[in-house]
Amino acid sequence: MNMKKKVTSIVAPVVTFLLIFAIWEFACWFYKIDAWFLPKPSEIFRSMIVDFGEYWPHLLVTLQCVLTGFLIAIPVGLLLATLITSFPLLNAAMSPYITFLVTTPLVSLIPLLMLMMGYGMNMRITTVVIQSFAVINMNACTGFNNVPTLRRELMQSMGASRLQTYRMMILPSAATDIITGLRLAAIFATTTCISVEYNAGNTGLGSQIIKYSQYLQTTKSFACIFYVTVIGLIMYGLITLLQKKIVSWEE
């Protein structure tokens, strides 16, 4: 029974995948759609493999930017959340601006940051960090603030120090919320990185999508988009792995 369920959970999405691409393929062939308008998926997949040497350096640049930015954003977001929730004064002083950061589309800052920092990796990573640490911070704050009163009382009844309380009780209590923040931040990081690459420089998958679109090389454009999806999947996989490791008790 369980085995059957497992097989279904793998087979069903694969069938969906094949079905969608089959319809797409068939429609392109049946309606004789031009490749510059909408290429056949088979062509896109072929290009992903055949022209891999062309995409590879850009894939690497994007992945590096997303991962580095994300990995810097995690400690920044968590540290800030810890400070904010530990000191009410800081909380009052900071919380409106954190909301600003989350709600302002940072994409609008890109031209400014380009002006200040140039087109290089530093500027790209900075943008990714700014956009993703805020959402990590916001979710971590929620987690820290929603710790059940009884658990606080338990730690108080033993006279636990701030550090003990944080390590043994608050951090694990907030783990689920923190993971949610990381998931959102991963999406923010990828989106921001691609947006920066649209505008700045000629490296990274974002820049290639723009370039190939302008040359009407839609197949290659799509190949790059699919590689962006691959990056998204890598991020998702990493976080799921982390979740399994950290909040294993919730299974």
């Binding site: 009884l150 009382e153 338990l154 108080q156 009844s157 033993m158 006279g159 043994m168 009780m169 008790w249």
Partner: protein, 267 residues
């Protein structure tokens, strides 16, 4: 007369919220001797939970003093010292286990916090697990065992650092009737064996009569001491006693006090 183990000396607690001021406990005094098993009985909202939280340093007092072994332990705005907290074990209304730790780790948590290390403490954890029949489940996580087992784990967690006083906040209120009776009898056994001082909070009259030597009846609005009843019933107590004449009389007496409180509330 011997010095009281625990003394409440005209203790008052006032909570100030944005919209109102609530007197949770008003001018409460009591003295408990070492090794006594006493109950604090009252309807919800009478401040009984506030009372033992003040004793355990979880909340501040507004006025009055709390003394343990003759030493004043409440100092406004200051954390209760570790040396005092080590004398106390708190058992919550819910098991209040930390789900990321195993049962054994949960039970041993006070040892980690108090910094008590060594084989004698490790052995103590194992002995306590054995005593309440949790040995086989020691490596399980809290979500894998039943409510009764969890509450047992909560009881021995409060005892693991060998406190002199156990504070119990309606500890078995969330359990079904049968498990509750069984837990009460186990608790009496533990008390008779260890001679700890126990303060037992409850709103269940029968439970209060069955377990304790003295019952402090509290009333609401404001939370206050209404009456103290000393129970002259033989020990060891047995479940069969609840149908005996003395027991029923005590129960009715306590019911009358609780009833009066309700009447005064209506007026």
């Amino acid at each position: 007369m011997q010095e009281a183990k625990i003394k409440f000396d005209h203790v008052t607690k006032i909570f100030e919220t944005r919209s109102q001021t609530i007197t949770a406990v008003k001018d409460y005094s009591m003295e408990i001797q070492a090794g006594e098993f006493i109950s604090i009985l009252g309807p919800s909202g009478c401040g009984k939970s506030t009372l033992i939280r003040m004793l355990d340093g979880i909340i501040d007092t507004t006025e009055g003093d709390i003394l343990i072994d003759g030493v004043k332990v409440n100092h406004k705005g200051k954390k209760m010292p570790s040396s005092v907290l080590r004398k106390l074990g708190f058992i919550f209304q819910q098991p209040n286990m930390l789900p990321w730790y195993t049962v054994r780790q949960n039970v041993a948590l006070p040892l980690r916090v108090f910094g008590l290390k060594g084989p004698e403490w490790d052995n103590r954890v194992e002995e306590l697990l054995e005593m309440v029949g949790l040995k086989e489940y020691a490596d399980a996580h809290p979500n894998e065992i039943s409510g009764g087992m969890l509450q047992r784990a909560g009881v021995i967690r409060a005892m693991v650092h060998d406190p002199e006083i156990l504070l119990m906040d309606e500890p078995f209120g969330a359990l079904d009737e049968m498990t509750r009776e069984q837990m009460n009898m186990e608790l009496l056994e533990i008390w008779e064996k260890t001679g700890k001082t126990i303060i037992f909070i409850t709103h269940n009259i029968e439970e209060a009569v069955l377990l304790s030597s003295r019952v402090y009846v509290m009333g609401t609005n404001p939370g206050r001491l209404v009456e103290t009843v000393t129970l002259d019933l033989p020990r060891p107590r047995k479940l069969s006693m609840i149908t005996q004449k003395d027991f029923i009389e005590y129960r009715q007496l306590l019911e009358s006090y609780i009833g009066e409180i309700d009447l005064s509330k209506i007026k």
